[in-house]
Each structure stands twice: as C-alpha cells, then as structure tokens.
Amino acid sequence: MKKVLALVLALCLALSLAACGGSGSSSSTPAASGSGSEPAASTTPTAAGSVYYLNFKPEQDEAWQALAKAYTAETGVPVTVVTAASGEYETTLMAEMGKSEAPTLFQVNGPVGLANWKDYCYDLSGSDIYTQLTSDDYALKEGDTVYGIAYVIESYGIITNKTLLEKAGYTLEDIQSFEDLKKVAEDITSRKDELGFAAFTSAGMDGSSDWRFKTHLANLPVYFEYQEDGISTTDAIKGTYLDNYKAIWDLYINNSTCEPSELSAKTGDDSRNEFLAGEAVFFQNGSWEYGNLTGEGKYTDDDLAMIPIYIGVGDEANQGLCTGTENYWCVNKEASEDDIQATLDFINWCVTSEQGTKAMADDMGFVIPFKTAQESPNLFVKQDAEMTAAGKTPVSWNFTTMPSEEWKNGVGSALTAYAAGTGDWNGVVSAFVDGWASEAALNAA
C-alpha cells in the first residue's frame, strides 16, 4: 500500500513538473525564427541586432510569425514575435519589459496608453518609417518627439444586413441621418413579430462587448464637442452632445433583440451570433469583424454594408465612418543600438517592401497608413475609402484621449444601470462629465 502511495505521489510530482514546463512554452508562442535556427546561407546580415516584437493582436499571430520568418530568410536578422493573450497585453508587456531580453518593438493604444511607456519610447522622428506615413495624424507626437507610429487604420460604424433591410422595405439610401435611422428602426420594431427580426443586435454590456458603447459610441459626443470647440483633447469635457448620446443609446436598447434589463449580461458573441443568425438588421462594430461575418455559411459582401453612426449632430449628409487607430508601434529605447537599428529596419521593411505590404494587406487584412500600402480585401475598409473619396468626412477616433480605463468603466456602469432602469440618465451625465474631470485631475497629479 505504501509503495503504491509513494508511486502515485511521485507520479503527481512528475506530472505537475511536466505541466509547468508544458504551459510555460505554450502560453507564449515564440517564433520559430529564433536566433540561429535557420540563418539564410546566401545573405549576410545587414544588422548585428535582432528584433523582438510583442504583438497585440492575437488574430494576426500566424501572419506575423510567417512574415518574421520571411524577413529572417531574406536578411538573416532573427525576428521573434510573441503574441500576448487577448486582454493581457499590458500585463505581458510589463513583465517582458522587466527582463534583460526585453521586447524591442511593442505597441501603445494612444496618448493615455503612452503615459505608461513614454520613458521607454525611442524617438522615431528621424526614422525612415516616419517619412513613409501618409499623414502626420498617424504619428503619436508630443512636441517634435515622435513616440509611436500607427500601423493600422480601422473603421467602425453600424454594420447593416442589406438583405434584411430590403425585406423590411428600406434601402441604404433611406438612412442618411439620425432621424432616418430612428424611423427605420422604430418601424422594424413595430413590425417585429411579422418580420421575424429586430432592428439592433443586443447592446451587451458584458466586458466582452461594453467597449462598443462606453468607448466607441461615446467617441461621437466627444468628437463633435472637440469639433465645435476646435480642440483635440481636454481636461474637462462639457458634455454638449450628451442628449444625442442618450437618443442613440435609447434607440439601441429599445429596438433590440432583447429587453433592456437583460443587456448587462449579454456578451459580444451573443451580439455577433444574433447578427449572423439574421435576428437583427444593425450591428454596431468595426472593420475587424469582417472576417467573422463573411465566409463559409456566413454572409457575402453583397449582404453587408457599414453605415455611419448618426447621432443627429453636425452635417450628417457628409458624415463618414469613424476611422482612426489605436495601435501605435513603439521602439524600445532601452534596447541596444544594434537591436534598435534592426527593429527600425524591420518595421520599415514591413510597410515598404512588396512582401511586407502584401502580407499586411492580405494576410492580416490591415489598411496601413503608409505610402506604399496595398489595397485590402476588407469590404468595410473599402467602403470607408469610397465614402472619403465621395467627400464625406470621417469621424476621428478621439476616444484615445479619454482620461482612463476607469472613466470608461464608470460610463459603462452608468449606461448599464440606465438601460436596466436601476439608474437614471443623470448618472451617465455625471460619470461622463464629472468622471472625466476627476480622472484627468488624477492623471495630472
């Protein structure tokens, strides 16, 4: 008996050790193209350094690994790409930056995210990649110092199921303003039982979905206020257009697939699945959803369109999609000079070379803000380009200036409470305006 027990215990120990080793190597996915694994025999390295890229987007992990391999094969410079698990980027970055082999290339999500990492950012103002940008708007600058360079532009709006819209008796041309949108949505709701579908997918306020409203939708009142005041950031938001924010939020929650009180537990997947199942016409989300909505057994480009989020402010006839970026590349200042040079060469190659731009457009589905960019097959992205070409003004992403994650959470909680009827709209206004001021004050301290 004792022998058996000892054996079992020994086995447990061995297993737990093995489990540790196993999870250690699988939790992060280091690229195969590590140092010396396959140095290209024919070419000589152009730089002595190496590149370590901590990637933010798990969807593009495979494509980055492949691109890194291709670069190593071409130049002999080892490139390691590690992708942080979804939602774990900050923690992973913090841990990795503390190591001696720290990432040479990482990303921040705008001015607020930069606050954490400013001391680590190499000034990119003299770099080749900076000269390749199509617009200075895509550089994360303070004064003359360039801390980060945007590498992907994305758009969001209201993704519309054109087929269902036609079934309800409308076309895209019928929706040119908030009033139109409201009329169509409320008409669909009044005939919900007869049509068999609702106007909007559930505006879920679970953590997997609430960013669509507390961040992306909240961008619109912020944007229009900035426009009116002619500013690009502020320490004290006035909330000029909060009534319009209320109007669109009311529209979302009252014309949805479920009761407003159920929204607090609805997830992002719920919302997407409702859209895929044809239970609703409108789905507020971004160009990154394209891959999830199209393909085998799903929609084709003919079924889908993205329309601007109208909230009844400004020149709605000329309002475009919300287009911008929250993905900025930063180069680690603390890395050795060789590594910095190797990293600069690598990112420049990614956005200028035939192979690099092709991989970013086709494999990753990115629209990149660089002169030599190639066209992406993404329908929503193409629509954004068409709208801009037709003279519509894209709504910029001002949510990167929102004072903190805490502010967004406060607004999100208040929105949820308002939807469920446990809170009133004053709660949202107070979280929006007062919360902004108090968070901005904390940031300044």
Binding site: N116, D119, E262, T422
Partner: protein, 283 residues
C-alpha cells in the same frame, strides 16, 4: 546520531532555505521597497516615500472594498464553519452512503474558482431574471449574497473533511462515559465533542477566514466588482489599481495597498489563532 544530525543540519536545510529566500523573502522585501516607489517595470523604480500609502488610504474605492471584504468575511466564515460542522456531524453517524455523500460534498472544492464564478453567474442571473430583479452587474446585494453562496458551496466540503477527521478522533469511551453519567446528546456535543475538535476548529477558522479575506478569482468572475466597484473586494481592488490604471504612479499605489493588505491579513489571522488556540484541550 544526534551529533551527526546537528553537524549536517545546515547542509540539509540549505536547499529549502535557499528556495524560501529566493522564492519568498527576496520578492517580499522587494515588494515592500517598491511600495515606496514610482515604477513601470520593477527594474527602474524611483523612490517617492510614503506618498503611495497616503494615496492608498485616501482612495475611496479601497476603503469601500475593505468594508465589503469585512462584511463578506464575517458572514461567510460563520456560515461555512457552521454548515461544515453540521454536515460533518451528520456524516459521522454511520448512515448509509456516508462515503458517497462525503465525496459529493467535497467535489465542488475540486473546481477552480474562476470556473465556479462563471457557472454561478449564469445560475444567479437566470434566477434574477425570472424574478424580474436587476442582474448581478447592477445588483450589489445579489453580488454579495451570490459570493457567499458560492464560497459556502465551494468551501463547506473541504472544511467538512477536516471536521470529520477531528470528530473521528474523539475517543468513544469519553462519549460513552458521558452517556452513562446521564448527558443528553446536546451536552455531549457541546461539552465533549466540541472541546475535543477545537484544533480542527482552529484550522478551519484560519483557512476560511484567510480564504475569504483574500478572495480574488470568485470575485473577479462572479461580479467583476460591478456595479461600479460596489462589490469589489480588497484583492480585486489591488489588482485593478495595479493593472487597469495607466500611468506609473498607480503601480506604486497598488503595491502600497498590497502591503497594507498583507499586514491586515496577518493581523487578523494572528488574533484568530490566539483566540482559538487558547480553547484547545489536550487529549
């Protein structure tokens, strides 16, 4: 033999001691040092003195998290131990299927806290939605009682096992002697069994007290601190300060909160140990 043991004692202690120093003492000291610093990564900390502690104490969410934690710990510790002891008494009577029951009661403890949290979130939300109450995300009271139900469900089985072990160690002749002297079952329980299992009570109280006070996974997955930090416990508050705030100053504040938290847990545990130890009897 004694002499050889003494001679080689340092050699045998060395591996464990080294592991303890590397794995505990050093990070602990560094953690205390960092609580006085402003830092982004642990490598580049700059000293700022006690300002982190001042900010930690003046943080309203930290104070409310403290009271929420205290309220939760008090109720859950009592409930868990009373329930566990009652079930242990039932399952030491030799009724049919005792082993099956013990296994069943113990099982929830084998599931991880995060998983349990999400399962109970679905269950509780279903019930709340049926009775037309606001869901967990908006309902502090439901969050509080949900956490207590969840913790009881998970911990009662574990504490039950410890109590069963204790009860089985109560000598049969003592009980028999008491019965002959005319003690009724209640007197036998309070005067004989309870004093005899006091060492189990010490352990169970210690475990449930510190577990409840340090609760993190279940809190994160069941309520996530919603609505607006109202159901946030200390550990989650520290985590949120450290990770979801941006800007180097928050890391130090989070670290300071963690040190305060540590002192609190140690103090509470020591007081409890002293209080229950004194009631233990020698067999």
């Amino acid at each position: 033999m004694e002499k050889t043991l003494k001679k080689y004692f340092p050699l045998f202690v060395l591996p464990t001691l080294a592991a303890f120093i590397i794995g505990f003492i050093v990070p602990f000291a560094e953690g205390i040092y960092l609580s006085f610093c402003k830092f982004t990564t642990v490598g580049n900390a700059s000293w700022v003195g006690v300002s982190n502690y001042v900010k930690a104490f003046s943080d309203a969410t930290f104070r409310s998290a403290f009271w929420f934690t205290l309220g939760f710990t008090a109720v859950s510790t009592v409930l868990i131990n009373v329930l566990a002891f009652a079930i242990a008494l039932l399952l030491t009577r030799g009724i049919k299927g005792t082993n099956v029951f013990r296994t069943v009661f113990f099982m929830p403890n084998l599931i991880g806290g995060i998983v349990l949290g999400y399962i109970w979130q679905i269950l509780i939300n279903c019930v709340l939605s049926l009775v037309k109450q606001p869901l967990l995300q908006l309902n502090t009271a439901a969050g509080y009682w949900g956490l207590i139900i969840l913790m009881c469900w998970q911990q009662v089985g574990y504490m039950m096992i410890i109590y069963i072990a204790g009860l089985q160690n109560v000598p049969g002749d003592l009980i028999e002697a008491a019965q002959i002297d005319g003690a009724n079952p209640w007197q036998a329980l309070v005067r004989i069994k309870l004093p005899m299992v006091m060492s189990s009570v010490t352990i169970c109280l210690f475990l449930s007290l510190t577990n409840s006070f340090k609760l993190f996974d279940q809190n994160l997955s069941l309520t996530g601190g919603e609505p607006n930090h109202a159901s946030e416990m200390l550990a989650l508050n520290i985590y949120n300060t450290f990770y979801t705030r941006s800007g180097p100053q928050w890391k130090g504040i989070g670290q300071a909160k963690a040190v305060i938290f540590f002192v609190l847990v140690v103090a509470i545990a020591l007081v409890q140990l002293r209080a229950t130890r004194s009631r233990e009897v020698q067999q």
